[in-house]
């Protein structure tokens, strides 16, 4: 059988996730049951199904697509992921204005844009416009930062 290495890794990862999730469903045996059904029975059934599917995925042949020529893990994609994580963590702490301005600048730099003056101006103007629209038009208050 012609197996694909990436699918074997995928299948093993899915099996690993299923086992992890299964352990999260244990230790709650004293929970209230409804008509004999424990609240963890439904998730356990889904996890069991995921386990079976993990095995099937490991034994599936993969098809080549056009996107395969683009590497999955590169400096840009990792930088983008790290930037997004920092954006999410700092969003309420330092407030919308700084976070959004920094996020837009970083996104532009990661994607290879090197006209810094234009990037700075457009980022600042965009942040201001978005803030005005959200605060005064949509009346959605944006975080101003908890550390100030």
């Amino acid at each position: 059988m012609n197996l694909s290495r990436s699918n074997i890794f995928n299948g093993i990862f899915v099996l690993f996730v299923s086992v992890l999730l299964f352990f999260r469903t244990t230790g709650k045996e004293d929970a209230f049951t409804t008509e004999g059904i424990h609240p963890m029975d439904y998730p356990r059934a889904l996890i069991f199904l995921l386990f079976i599917l993990g095995i099937l995925i490991a034994f599936t042949k993969s098809k080549k697509t056009e996107e395969d020529r683009i590497p999955i893990v590169t400096r840009r994609t990792i930088s983008m992921c790290i930037s997004l994580i920092f954006f999410a963590i700092l969003f309420e702490k330092i407030g919308f204005a700084l976070c959004a301005f920094g996020g837009m600048m970083l996104c532009g730099i990661i994607m290879g844009y090197r006209r810094f003056v234009l990037l700075t101006c457009v980022s600042a103007i965009s942040c201001a416009c978005i803030w005005i629209v959200f605060t005064y038009v949509l009346k959605i208050p944006l975080p101003t930062g908890t550390i100030w």
């Binding site: 990436s6 995928n10 899915v14 999730l21 999260r24 709650k28 929970a31 209230f32 049951t33 409804t34 008509e35 059904i37 609240p39 963890m40 439904y42 998730p43 889904l46 199904l49 995921l50 599917l53 099937l56 995925i57 599936t60 098809k63 697509t65 996107e67 683009i70 590497p71 999955i72 590169t74 840009r76 994609t77 930088s79 983008m80 992921c81 997004l84 994580i85 954006f87 999410a88 963590i89 969003f91 309420e92 996020g103 837009m104 600048m105 970083l106 996104c107 532009g108 990661i110 994607m111 290879g112 990037l119 457009v122 980022s123 965009s126 978005i130 959200f134 949509l138 959605i140 944006l142």
Partner: protein, 500 residues
């Protein structure tokens, strides 16, 4: 007849028409921004209706509802970042079509299908509201379970070519819906001790993360390899000609019927309708092999279904006073503010209000085209920005959209984690729609299973299922939907080998 004429005259007063147009335009603009959607749009406009005449108030809010459902498709097509959950399916073929330089045509298909789907549901609404309302009351736990099971079977159709991965993605979506309190015992599940997850995960952060943020991460690298969508020259929307509809009319009618039917059922919504319809089109369309490469059939199925929901959702709202989702709950509040009580009494005591609402919705659907042109032109200016700058704006809007739905910073973290996980899943060949289908239907699915077990009592399962002919029909349809794609595949492979 006199009632209908009075209702038409009321719907065509300058104030009512003006409010309707304004509502559609506001809804379109809000729907086009990732993460906001119909509830935000209607919530913003509700306070402005307090001093208005009831027909103008209803016209404004129905306009926002219709506009926001369609507006999400603009961002879907042009940026591959759905503005609303129900526009996620539109991106699957709308964006590939835009990448081929046919943005105006893609948007044309979107709006043509939206308008026709919306008008279809309005006609059904006018002709059959009392009957359909009575039909909606027939749906108990067993029937709801069967309907949702039917919805889940479309995971199989949208995963063609990657069945195991598609099903795994669907199961992951169902598991995501389990996060938070159990529906029957309030036991906290999969919260990992985090207070922010104790209420569960909202739909908007998942949709924004899975589709919009993952697209941004993909573009970070693919910008070096692929051309982006160009700004459209000339007209922003080119409607399809009559000839292009040849062979697609049946699909339009079927998708509109699915959307209307799903809209009538309380608890479902436009996202469910668009995925169901897309899955059915992928199973039955003669051009199904081209899905994912810019095939108009996919856009027709998704857009006509999600707009047909707007008419269908008014059936339980107006005829029974039962809101099916947060949007119709706000519409119900509007009626109450203006001294009207939706339900059986409304149909009997103020039928002209009901029919005026139907005519207003018809006018709102017609206004989708001019307001769509305006919104698409505005988006066209955005496309002239260099892509790195545009992606930065998209990231900020996505995060704000996710934050704005509940004002909860956990939603922002959920969005980013969903986006990163979805990126790696996408690159490993997992289809994204099944995650959303599983998530959207997951809570209702578990609730209906529990309700079924409660109502079944001491009866045998066979007796309980056979006691509802409607449920039996729905189960049979679900079984056919699961088996048919595999059977068709087997028969076509057999035909190919016998031809050789």
């Amino acid at each position: 007849m006199e009632i209908i004429i009075n209702a038409i005259m009321e719907a065509f007063t300058p104030l009512t028409v003006g409010m309707n147009f304004l509502g559609v335009l506001v809804g379109m603009l809000i729907g086009a921004l990732p993460g906001l959607g119909s509830v935000v749009g209607i919530s913003i406009c509700l306070p402005f209706t307090y001093g208005m005449h009831s027909s103008a108030a209803i016209a404004l809010l129905l306009g926002v509802y219709a506009g926001s459902v369609s507006g999400g498709s603009i961002a879907s097509v042009l940026l591959n970042t759905p503005g609303t959950p129900q526009a996620a399916c539109t991106a699957l073929d709308g964006h590939p079509m835009a990448k081929q330089g046919k943005s105006a045509q893609a948007l044309g298909w979107c709006f043509a299908a939206s308008i026709l789907g919306g008008l279809f549901s309005c006609v059904v609404l006018i002709l059959a509201t009392p009957t359909l309302a009575a039909f909606a009351l027939e749906f108990g736990a067993l029937e709801t379970f069967a309907l949702i099971l039917m919805g889940l079977t479309c995971i199989s159709s949208v995963s063609a070519g990657a069945q195991a991965k598609g099903l795994a993605a669907g199961v992951i979506g169902l598991l995501l819906a389990c996060i938070g309190p159990s529906p029957f015992s309030s036991l906290q599940r999969f919260t990992f001790g985090l207070f922010g997850l104790s209420g569960g995960i909202d739909l908007v952060p998942v949709i924004v993360g899975v589709f919009a943020l993952s697209e941004v991460i993909v573009r970070a690298e693919s910008i070096l390899y692929e051309k982006r969508v160009e700004a459209m020259k000339g007209g922003a929307i080119i409607l399809p000609g009559l000839r292009e509809w040849s062979g697609r009319v049946a699909l339009l009618i079927k998708s509109s019927a699915i959307g209307t039917f799903v809209g009538i059922m309380p608890g479902t919504g436009a996202a469910t309708a668009s995925f169901l319809s897309y899955g059915e089109a992928k199973r039955s369309s003669p051009r199904r092999e081209k899905f994912g490469t810019g095939e108009p059939d996919s856009i027709i199925a998704a857009e006509s279904a999600n707009n047909a929901v707007t008419g269908g959702a008014l059936v339980p709202t107006l005829a029974l006073g039962i809101p099916g989702d947060p949007v119709t709950a706000i519409l119900l509040a509007t009626f109450a503010i203006h001294g009207l009580s939706p339900g059986v009494r409304l149909m009997a005591e103020s039928p002209e209000v009901v029919y005026c609402s139907f005519v207003t919705l018809i006018i709102a659907n017609v206004f989708l085209y001019p307001t769509g042109k305006i919104t698409a032109k505005l988006f066209n200016y955005l496309l002239r920005l260099p892509e790195p700058i545009l992606m930065g704006v998209v990231v900020v809007l996505c995060i704000l959209g996710a934050y704005g739905s509940r004002g909860n910073s956990v939603d922002v973290i959920v969005t980013v984690i969903s986006g990163i996980a979805a990126y790696f899943m996408r690159r490993q060949g997992y289809p994204m729609p099944p995650i959303v289908i599983g998530f959207v239907l997951g809570q209702q699915f578990e609730l209906s299973i529990g309700q079924m077990i409660l109502f079944k009592g001491d009866q045998s399962w066979l007796f309980y299922i056979l006691s509802s002919p409607l449920a039996c029909i729905l189960f049979l349809i679900a079984l056919i939907l699961i088996i048919l794609p595999h059977f068709s595949n087997y028969m076509s492979k057999k035909k190919i080998t016998s031809d050789i």
